[in-house]
């Protein structure tokens, strides 16, 4: 298939960017979106131009590195996938595809389609952990009974790969789905209870400090999340913060 690409080009964080048009030809419908980008970059390198910078790592949908806002949606038009798992069969021959970086004041552009998502790391560092030494003295799993329901929900929350699609999609650039998932994965388990109050208060405080917006419950994040993280996690985070406040 032959495509027209409209791609955000920005030399570095301080320069002003702009949309630039490119043509790619003979793209296989079996290619992933990133492979299509590789074809474009090869073309650019061969003609002596600067290739388009974009984040990627595992290319199997688990690392959360690949981003891109494709045709007005985080990770493109498919559901439950990251950009590396988005296939070109989702597009038609002759299509014009708009490719932009994830946008949020807290996710500044580093170059082209690469954004700085370290704000997520700082939120994690504020409380997304348990202070138990787990090496060498692991206790028997059966000594801590956890209901199947809680275990499943905690595991679902823990599948968040921190890609930032929720923030990119949100009209308010809110990080509450991410933080909700990170708070929930511990809030549902006994191991998380000791630091529960501090965790939610510190993580929410850091989230606010990073300049993310306020959730208005549009639910767009849940739809665009490649891991299908549920809005229930935001409700749980709200409950946890209320509990921590009155404690």
């Amino acid at each position: 298939m032959n495509l027209t690409l409209k791609i955000w080009r920005q030399a570095d964080s301080s320069s002003k960017g702009q949309m630039v048009d490119y043509k790619v030809t003979e793209i296989s419908e079996h290619m992933s979106f990133l492979e299509m980008m590789d074809v474009l970059n090869e073309q650019l390198v061969n003609s002596g131009d600067e290739p388009v910078a974009f984040d990627h790592d595992c290319r199997e949908g688990i690392c959360g590195m690949c981003s891109m806002y494709i045709n007005g949606e985080a990770h493109g038009p498919d559901r439950g996938v990251t950009t590396c798992q988005l296939h070109m069969r989702m597009f038609k021959d002759g299509d014009t595809i708009t490719i932009e970086p994830f946008r949020a004041a807290a996710f500044p552009v580093i170059k082209d389609l690469v954004v700085d998502r370290n704000a997520f790391e700082r939120i994690q560092q504020a409380g997304g952990y348990i202070s138990v030494n787990t090496s060498g003295n692991t206790q028997d799993a059966n000594s801590l009974p956890i209901s199947k329901h809680a275990a499943d929900e905690a595991m679902d929350a823990a599948t968040c790969i921190g890609c930032g699609a929720c923030v990119a999609t949100c009209k308010n650039s809110s990080a509450m789905l991410f933080v909700g998932a990170k708070v929930s994965q511990y809030a549902l388990l006994p191991q998380g209870q000791v630091e529960a109050a501090d965790r939610v208060q510190n993580m929410v405080a850091q989230m606010d400090l990073e300049g993310f917006g306020n959730c208005t419950n549009t639910g767009a994040c849940e739809v665009e999340c490649p891991k299908g993280i549920s809005l229930d996690n935001i409700a749980r985070m709200n409950r946890e913060l209320m509990k921590a406040t009155v404690k």
């Binding site: 004041a105 308010n172 650039s173 917006g213 959730c215 208005t216 209320m242 406040t245």
Partner: protein, 225 residues
């Protein structure tokens, strides 16, 4: 506790709490106004009670005014903060792919409702306050009869006003279509995401504005004199 209401989530909770109060207020407002369609006498009696009862006037009314002002001011503050949190605007953004129109445009439906409240205050609230507390006439009478029903019918003779009211109520419906279940979510309840409450929320956001529209149209078209 002060820290809680300064946090992003605390503000959401405060928005939801004021929303619950306002949604309950709207419901009782509709019930009382509905009386004007079925029984002018009953409408007059209840209006006089609501207009002169000290508990309603000096306890509930200030709470209502506070809730209204708070909901608007906080709504604007949050909108401004959210705009600041956005980076460069997307060249192409397909919001309809993942969310409803009403959820993305609460600020605009809210602005229409604010404009409506200004009109509504000029129409009914300021004249009431003037008659009762400035002129000092607490009787509720005009020429020996209760004035409330007559004043209501009089106001709905103007087609422009009726049109403005109807448009505002439609926007109120859209505001509630998202706001009703959203308030539960903000309070940390997943009930708003379950079928029962979603159906109830949909019914509420359709029936309530429709009720107000019917009242306005009834007095304009059928009760015309």
């Amino acid at each position: 506790m002060g820290g809680f209401f300064k946090s992003s989530i605390g503000r959401k909770v405060a928005m939801a709490l004021s929303a619950f109060f306002l949604m309950f207020f709207l419901l009782q407002h509709l019930f009382i106004n509905m009386l004007s369609v079925f029984s002018p006498d009953a409408f007059n009696e209840v209006s006089h009670f609501m207009g002169t009862n000290p508990l309603v006037q000096f306890a509930l009314q200030p709470v209502l005014i506070f809730a209204v002002v708070f909901h608007f001011v906080m709504g604007f503050i949050l909108e401004l903060k959210n705009k600041k949190a956005n980076g460069v605007a997307y060249a192409r953004n397909n919001g309809a792919a993942n969310s409803t129109w009403s959820s993305r445009n609460m600020i605009y439906s809210g602005l229409v409702i604010l404009a409506f409240i200004v009109l509504h205050f000029i129409d009914f609230w300021f004249p009431e306050i003037n008659t009762k507390y400035i002129v000092g006439d607490m009787s509720g009478l005009h020429n020996g009869e209760f004035r409330y029903y007559h004043e209501l019918v009089e106001k709905f003779q103007n087609p422009l006003r009726v049109g403005a009211y109807v448009i505002s109520f439609i926007l109120l419906g859209l505001h509630l279509a998202h706001g009703f279940t959203s308030a539960f979510q903000s309070m940390g309840s997943t009930a708003g995401r379950k079928k029962n409450l979603q159906t109830f929320g949909k019914a509420y956001s359709i029936i309530l504005p429709l009720g107000f529209i019917i009242i306005a149209l009834f007095h304009h078209l059928i009760n015309n004199h």
